[in-house]
């Protein structure tokens, strides 16, 4: 974090500022997607960009995720640096061939002749009452594929710095924003900065238990850490910030120090990001662990529309607190 940061931005403003700065800096940067121009996306993240950069660089597309993602891959291969906007992460399913078989493979299969410097921005996260087809967190699918980098910022500061890095990266990057965080405020300095991929951030220091959390689950973990402090348990909250590349060293070192770890992620618990990170910790810190590494993800169900049901489908401050207390032998 910057030493002096008096200015506060929302998460959405930080994203918009990163895009605007990169578009001013590099005329090859352009945006494709549904309702990205005058509408500025349903989340109003891109408001104002079309006014500054025009319809040639902020381009509304037909409702065809497979089509315009493919357009993005081609544009990136032929010299542009497109930022493709997929409104809901659930619609990633339509882009899978372009991402998995094209974007992720082109550099390798062309022997390094072609590259795909494309960013695909999309959303994740439940509890917005958007029902089963608009509430999923499918980042594990893409973290599984070699050739893609996957970014999951948790604060406005990280969002801006990581998005600028993503746009400048020579490889395809999938950038996940939790739609519930767009209005969350945080310090963002005026001056230029970027954040490297594969560098976890310790959001809170602690000695008794490590809570690894991604995206909006970082806030949940920090809330749980506050509750834990009241019962004398010091929780260290670590945000990997990118699921690939993954900063294994920071995670393992923290777990070795605290001897206990929980991994919290809003994707499905089964075969998910939590399982991967928990394994990394178990393999790296096994002989320093006092307890099994605990995974906490979404329940293995379609995300319910019913608010009371939806709220218990994903981890909460209270459930993380209870799990941590049990692991520490205090519950």
């Amino acid at each position: 974090m910057p030493e002096v940061a008096t200015r506060e931005l929302t998460f959405a403003q930080a994203i918009r500022e990163a895009l605007a700065e990169e578009m001013r800096r590099d005329s090859r940067v352009c945006i494709f997607g549904e309702d990205v121009a005058e509408a500025g996306t349903p989340f109003k993240v891109l408001s104002g960009l079309v006014e500054e950069f025009g319809r040639e660089r902020v381009m509304d597309t037909p409702i065809s995720e497979a089509g315009f993602t493919g357009m993005g891959v081609g544009a990136a291969m032929t010299g542009l640096r497109p930022v493709v906007d997929i409104m809901f992460g659930d619609f990633l399913t339509l882009t899978m061939d372009q991402l998995v078989n094209q974007a992720a493979k082109v550099h390798y299969m062309s022997g390094g002749t072609w590259k795909v410097p494309m960013v695909l921005r999309t959303t994740l996260g439940a509890t917005r009452r958007s029902a089963a087809q608009h509430s999923q967190s499918l980042h594990a699918w893409l973290s599984h594929v070699p050739g893609l980098k996957v970014v999951m910022p948790s604060t406005p500061y990280d969002a801006k710095g990581l998005l600028k890095t993503a746009i400048r990266d020579e490889n395809p990057v999938v950038f996940f924003e939790d739609k519930m965080m767009y209005k969350q405020k945080g310090p963002v300095p005026e001056e230029e900065y970027t954040i490297p991929f594969g560098a976890a951030d310790v959001k809170r220091k602690g000695e008794d238990i490590t809570i690894v959390a991604t995206s909006s689950m970082v806030q949940v973990a920090l809330g749980a850490a506050e509750l834990l402090e009241k019962i004398g348990v010091g929780a260290e909250v670590i945000d990997p910030r990118t699921t690939w590349p993954l900063d294994e060293k920071t995670l393992i070192e923290s777990a070795k120090k605290t001897s206990r770890a929980i991994v919290v992620d809003e994707g499905y618990g089964r075969y998910g990001v939590t399982g991967e990170i928990a394994s990394v910790i178990a393999e790296g810190a096994f002989y320093n662990l006092e307890a099994p590494v605990k995974r906490m993800g979404a329940m293995h169900v379609p995300i319910p529309f019913s608010p009371p049901l939806e709220d218990v489908t994903v981890p909460t401050e209270q459930t993380v607190f209870e799990a941590a207390r049990t692991l520490c032998g205090k519950g």
């Binding site: 001897s259 002989y287 307890a291 049990t326 520490c328």
Partner: protein, 393 residues
């Protein structure tokens, strides 16, 4: 139907709990899971949730009262329903009980307690540290989740904190501690009396040999004398329900099932592994289950159901060449049968000395539940069954 609210047992050595506060007033509606009362044990203050839905009624414990664990302190009733007139209360001793009618809360606690005692876990870090520091793991009492031994436990023992005991004194394992508690409780709270009986085991041994020959082929089972005794015992108990009953403090409760607990030696003490409904099980089933229980007991992997619900205990020290011994009752069971080895002795048969395979049985009984005559009738029927096992089996 009215739901009882009992003083729960939350810890291993807890006999009583102090009522700190009622969170609901008498007559107030309560829903399951809502905080109902707050209690204090010697280690912590705990909030207790309502066990069901209903209206709080029949509160018998006031704030500040110290109440034995397992005792009913209130009821949750339906609108218009009156709480049961005589609240059945359990003696403090009931905490360690395995009575089938105990409250589910107490059962859960007991199950946890015993699981902790029998299957001690150790964390990877603690195991590594114990090796590095040369600490004997079996001397450590775990303080982590569900009794897991943590590296702190290892370190405190290595630094001599955990081992505050004077030199030459052995620290108790959890099994050892539990055995000490249970036997002290049984011996000091139950008025024991003992009946001794010698019995001719010629037919018993013959029956066992026959079973073994048959079942080795059909069931992959090899029944032991203990297995046949469990079966005979359970079948004789069907007629003698009083021997299969429990003292409750208020009266005598007859147990609906005949669950024979078999005393088994493990590393640091003895555990009672239970053959549930032994009276309805075939010899082969008993034999296979008893063998499984023995293996799990030796590996320290007995499950809570393996050691709960026993209504009568059989303890056989025959394999140690013991002739006879007297055993301590495990409350709330009313009796325990101690059997020694089967050995050739000279006894009169038809007025002449003969050499017969004899066994001495010692029946310990709770005098609050049975008297000498009643226990003698049971022992006599059991002796008949052993003399002529084919009639019973």
């Amino acid at each position: 139907m009215a739901i009882s609210v009992v003083m729960p047992a939350l810890e291993m050595a807890q006999e009583t709990g102090k009522l700190l506060a009622w969170r609901k007033k008498e007559g107030e509606r309560v829903t399951k899971g809502e905080p109902l009362l707050e209690i204090e044990t010697d280690k912590a203050v705990v909030e207790v949730e309502a066990p069901g839905d209903g209206i709080l009624a029949g509160v018998t414990a006031d704030v500040g009262a110290v109440v034995p664990v397992g005792q009913i302190i209130a009821w949750l009733v339906a609108p218009g329903e009156k709480p049961p007139a005589m609240a059945v209360t359990a003696a403090p001793a009931a905490r360690a009980s395995s009575s089938p009618q105990r409250t589910s809360a107490a059962a859960a606690v007991q199950a946890t307690e015993q699981r902790v005692a029998l299957a001690t876990q150790i964390s990877p870090k603690a195991r590594r540290l114990a090796k590095e520091l040369g600490v004997d793991i079996s001397k450590i009492r775990g303080t982590g989740h569900e009794g897991t031994i943590t590296s702190e436990d290892v370190q405190s023992l290595a630094q001599g904190e955990g081992a505050a005991a004077p030199p030459g004194m052995e620290l108790l394992s959890q099994v050892g501690r539990l055995m000490a508690e249970r036997t002290t409780q049984g011996w000091t709270s139950v008025p024991h009396f003992f009946l001794v009986r010698d019995v001719d085991c010629g037919e018993l041994v013959a029956a066992q040999t026959r079973f073994r020959q048959e079942m080795e082929k059909t069931h992959d089972a090899a029944p032991t004398i203990t297995d046949v005794l469990i079966s005979l015992l359970a079948k004789v108990l069907v007629k003698h329900t009083r021997m299969n009953s429990s003292w409750t403090g208020e009266g005598i409760r007859s147990n609906p099932e005949i669950n024979v607990s078999v005393a088994m030696a493990v590393n640091e003490g003895v555990v009672g592994a239970v053959i549930h409904k032994a009276n309805t099980a075939k010899i082969a089933q008993i034999s296979m289950l008893r063998r499984e229980l023995t293996e799990r007991a030796r590996a320290g992997r007995l499950r809570p159901t393996d050691i709960t619900g026993g209504t009568f205990t059989l303890s056989n020290l025959g394999m140690y060449k013991v002739d006879a011994f007297s055993a301590i009752i495990t409350p709330p069971q009313a009796a325990i049968l101690a059997v020694g080895s089967i050995s050739d002795r000279v006894v009169p048969v038809d007025g002449k000395p003969a050499i017969r395979p004899m066994m001495t049985m010692t029946l310990s009984s709770d005098h609050r539940v049975v008297d000498g005559a009643r226990a003698a009738e049971f022992l006599s029927d059991l002796a008949d069954a052993i003399r002529e096992p084919e009639k019973v089996l």
